[in-house]
């Protein structure tokens, strides 16, 4: 910012110098072919001190690229007298330098109207041209920098209540054409309806508050806001504001607005990655736990039974020990199977997503568990009117729902009719499937944080090995969703599957 101000000042100084320090005009009288008859005493200022002009041709002093135009000018002046527009051309000075001049040529006529010679006035405009070029250069550079950095400029004139935008800013807001300046009130309230299309009323109010602070404190400030472009794209902008004063008071608020959508996207991508990595990490820990506890427990039991068998001579005792050995081995095998399943789910990278009728899946599970439903006299209620179809990998949805439904059957309350209900619905625009039961429930204040961990069981009567809910969670989370539970002792349990939460959260 400081460097930019410095350069602006330099250009402004040059302009001042040009305006106050008008160079002298040079007058030449010459023939139609350019042979100089007379040169004013100021000629040295353009042609170089000591240049011998008399009898030489003016055309020789013109830059070769401009010579043709000057020749045409002389011809036109000879033919048309004084109605010839001036040209801007380059003069080669005697010291080799180039000066830009405006050359204005009229014909000098005798009493009968015959052209006797040409009268040329030359004004040195080198400084003006150099300044103009430098301005163009600066503007081009600034434009390119702005486009690359996705920055657009603006200023608000406090007196007139008008807000002007640069072309780059128009690009950020995706406003195609030139448009009338926006209007705002004396307390910097945006009164222009067009602004309301870009920002929410709350964000416009924030902007006003920041602008007021900037004016009151004379300290620049920035703020970041979400916005919607004229073409309906969601973007994120960072707005920088500073104020300028004249002798009377605050005059303008200068601003720069940067499109930071990409930065924001990367930020949210990073947050998502960190979240995923944290989940992965937790899962690794749990697999560590699985190996060191869940798998080790049955193995150590086997070792203990074998050591007892070793010094048993009694046949009955040996039989009973072998029976226990079989039990322990079976438990180890089941634990290994389930661990294998959990690891398989975890390893699968991109399962195929397809549209699935939730009702059909649930009915299929009921058929598989028909015997248990009958034995327990359990009933199943399905309500998928709100979201009949979800997009999800079929096998996973089946696995997850089967786990939750068979859980509900296992943890029934004695003496209470078992009603399992599955509902699909939209929550904040995202599909959610709820599985609730009338079972024994869980005291979440005691166990909530361990609910979905590996190897956690909560119920005395059930043969939980603690892998089921861990697996459910692994599946749901690996597909970017979440699972929550609501429960209380003897109040039943409700599991809520939010599908695809992270995917929907990503910026467009």
């Amino acid at each position: 910012m400081a460097a930019f101000q410095h350069r602006t000042t330099e250009v402004a100084k040059g302009l001042d110098h040009f305006l106050t320090d008008q160079p002298l005009e040079v007058i030449l009288l010459h023939g139609p072919s350019g042979t100089i008859h007379f040169a004013s005493h100021t000629a040295g200022s353009i042609f170089g001190e000591g240049a011998t002009l008399s009898k030489s041709s003016l055309l020789d002093r013109i830059h070769e690229n401009d010579r043709e135009r000057v020749h045409t000018l002389f011809t036109d002046a000879t033919l048309h007298g004084d109605r010839v527009p001036p040209v801007t051309v380059r003069i080669l000075r005697s010291d080799g330098e180039i000066r830009w001049v405006v050359l204005f040529t009229v014909a000098v006529k005798d009493s009968v109207g015959k052209v006797i010679e040409l009268h040329s006035t030359l004004r040195d405009v080198t400084q003006q041209i150099v300044l103009r070029e430098r301005l163009v250069e600066r503007e081009t550079l600034a434009h390119m920098t702005n486009v690359l950095a996705k920055v657009g400029g603006w200023y608000a004139e406090i007196d007139s209540g008008r807000l002007y935008w640069s072309d780059e800013l128009r690009q950020i807001y995706e406003v195609d054409e030139q448009h009338a300046p926006f209007e705002f009130g004396s307390d910097l309230t945006p009164t222009d309806d067009r602004l309301a299309a870009f920002f929410t009323p709350e964000d416009l109010a924030r902007m006003r508050a920041v602008a007021q602070q900037v004016v009151a404190s004379n300290e620049p400030q920035t703020l970041e806001l979400p916005m919607t472009t004229a073409k309906g794209h969601k973007r994120y902008v960072r707005i920088f504001m500073s104020v300028s004063f004249d002798g009377v008071g605050p005059k303008r608020i200068y601003g720069a607005t940067q499109d930071i959508t990409e930065i924001k996207q990367r930020e949210s991508e990073l947050t998502r990655l960190v979240r995923e990595l944290t989940i992965q990490n937790d899962r690794l820990e749990e697999f560590g736990h699985l190996v060191s506890h869940q798998l080790r427990a049955p193995a150590t039991n086997i070792a203990s039974i074998v050591s007892l068998l070793d010094d048993t001579t009694d046949a009955d005792e040996a039989r009973s020990l072998v029976g226990k050995l079989g039990e322990a081995a079976e438990l180890l095998r089941r634990t290994l199977d389930e661990a294998g399943n959990a690891i398989r789910v975890h390893r699968t990278v991109a399962p195929e997503v397809e549209p699935i009728y939730v009702r059909d899946v649930v009915l299929g599970i009921k058929t598989q568990l028909a015997q248990t439903f009958e034995d327990l006299g359990a009933s199943l209620e399905i309500d998928t009117d709100e979201v009949p179809v979800v997009h999800y990998p079929r096998v996973y949805l089946e696995t997850v729902l089967r786990h939750l439904i068979s859980n509900a059957l296992r943890f029934a309350q004695q003496g209470t009719p078992i009603i399992i209900s599955v509902r699909s619905m939209l929550h904040e625009g995202l599909p959610v499937i709820e599985v609730s039961d009338t079972g024994v429930g869980i005291d979440l204040s005691k166990h909530g944080n361990r609910m979905f961990r590996l190897g956690t069981t909560f119920h005395r009567q059930a043969s939980g090995r603690g892998l089921g809910l861990f697996m459910v969670r692994t599946i749901v989370e690996s597909l970017g969703g979440e699972i929550d539970v609501e429960s209380a002792p003897n109040q039943g349990t409700t599991f809520r599957l939010s599908l695809h939460r992270y995917r929907a959260e990503e910026a467009e």
Partner: protein
Amino acid sequence: MSKQLTIALVDDDRIYQFTTERMLQRLDADIRFLWFKDGEEALGYLQDHALDDQALPDILIVDINMPFLDGWQFLDAFRSLRPDLAKPVDIYMVSSSTDDRDMQRARSTEGVRDYVEKPITREKLAVILGLHD
């Protein structure tokens, strides 16, 4: 072996309970054996028999990984119960976990005699019961 020792196992693993009981039987000592399937059950028993030094165990062998109250939660609850008990109770934490953190935590927890990794062999049991020194 003049005095009968009462040893209580707090563990949800039925097979482990079975093998431990068998090992105790073979130690040839006068031992009374109690088994609780989880911490809640054990706490209930200790509360009910707080003043009955015959019924109270001398030694509690507590598994870290249990349903309902896990070993650590049990320990927290036990700490507030301890001053009301008719006799001192020694606590051993056990786990099939080979995780060092469990051992560190058990050994730095007040009121825990030791941490023992499963399987508990007959030799280890004998040491816990003070049968060898």
